[in-house]
Symmetry: C2
Subunit: 217 residues, 2 copies
DNA sequence: CGAAGACCTATTGTATACAATTTGTGATCG
DNA sequence: CGATCACAAATTGTATACAATAGGTCTTCG
């Protein structure tokens, strides 16, 4: 968080992810510069980054707003993620050093613990989950892939809905990760790819049913 | 090209694509603002966009430079493009209206003509090729997909090398497009997907051998 | 009463001045 | 002679003032 632009990026991002603004809300650069505590110049830079990650969007006349995603759009995003992240897992499988697999295993044990709480500790689950997927993407060793995936994960709608996941959904996620770790230990790229693909597709359906429940309320 | 930032984006982009700067060259914001004829503020915005498309990159201390790509890295980029663009073709196949297919056919007949020239008109080939792929991506009707593909196509290294393509390479490309059009006319998503995948993989190999030839000189 | 147009206001876009940081250079010391 | 430090120059980062544009509102006229 060294430059003002980074500060602005982080603060605005948190502001959006914490759902302090609703989908459809308009935001002016001035409001954002108050939130971030810096002038409009670095805010503009931060907004460009957040647009790239689809956390903010602009109207045709360049007004900033918080986008909303339909279930269909989230479906499409998960489909893209599935293609790209299973490719990442495939590459990671032949690149991960044993100690890196150990590190991943540790992250997933934190995730397991979060799931076993009663009620499950969703915040910790999401954090461990993010770190797990980030590490896999990182291990794929492709800056392009990493950059692309950064814009597909951590969508507010997905994070918001996560609180509605059933305990069984969360448990299955943890088990998927376990199987991915087994594939990594075996250095089996095809296995890793298949597990990741099915993991993400399942995650989409968990999302869709949590979404459905939320919609009914 | 209405705003200064757009002007800057276009001019700097052309500057890079026209190979007026070499991979590895450093560029200062001031130099770029002279090239674009606007102040540093819109230049910075343009550079951020160009970074997103990987046409420019920054050092850890935020100096701007023109990146270079190894054959391996281009391989990886074509692999990503193959996944995403064959997915786009799959979606396009069930979405394209007959008159849109006609428009695509027209673009490809321009491409055919460019190939049949002696020597082939590579500039026109590349332009028609870009428009063809852009139209397919557009038809997939997924803003996310479109945004991602924008950063994978039109890499300087690929355009630069295109001049070394053999006439046979170019002809085959035109035939691939013809087959894609057939798949679109039939509304056959799986066919379209497969054709696009093989088209792009072939394109990579054409690139790789043109690259090899260039390297030997 | 409704539509069209002119204004006024809010918001984004750009230039510029200055601050902070990085890099290069040259002096100094071991 | 080489390393290290200090300082100077180049470059990027930020704030701010002003310009351009979009949006809304109020008036006027049919």
């Amino acid at each position: 968080m060294s430059t003002a632009a980074d500060t602005a990026y982080t603060k605005i991002r948190e502001h959006v992810l914490a759902a302090k603004v609703q989908p459809g809300d308009r935001l002016t650069e001035e409001q954002l510069s108050e939130i971030a505590g810096v002038s409009r110049t670095p805010v503009r830079e931060a907004v460009l980054r957040l647009e790239r990650e689809l956390l903010l969007m602009r109207t045709p006349s360049n007004r900033i707003f918080v986008p909303d995603w339909s279930t269909d759009e989230v479906d499409e995003m998960f489909t893209l993620r599935q293609m790209l992240e299973s490719h990442a897992a495939e590459r990671a499988a032949v690149r991960l050093a044993p100690e890196e697999v150990d590190a991943l295993t540790k992250i997933n044990s934190i995730l397991h613990k979060a799931v076993e709480q009663d009620p499950p500790d969703v915040a910790n689950f999401l954090d461990a989950n993010r770190r797990f997927h980030e590490a896999v993407t990182q291990a794929a060793d492709s800056p392009r892939l990493q950059q692309i995936l950064a814009m597909l994960v951590e969508q507010p709608v997905v994070l918001r809905t996560a609180r509605g996941y059933s305990k069984e959904d969360l448990k299955q996620s943890a088990r998927d990760h376990d199987e991915l770790l087994a594939a990594f230990k075996a250095g089996d790229a095809a296995w890793a790819k298949a597990v990741m693909a099915s993991h993400l597709r399942r995650a989409f359906h968990a999302f869709a049913s949590a979404m459905e429940k939320e919609r009914k309320r």
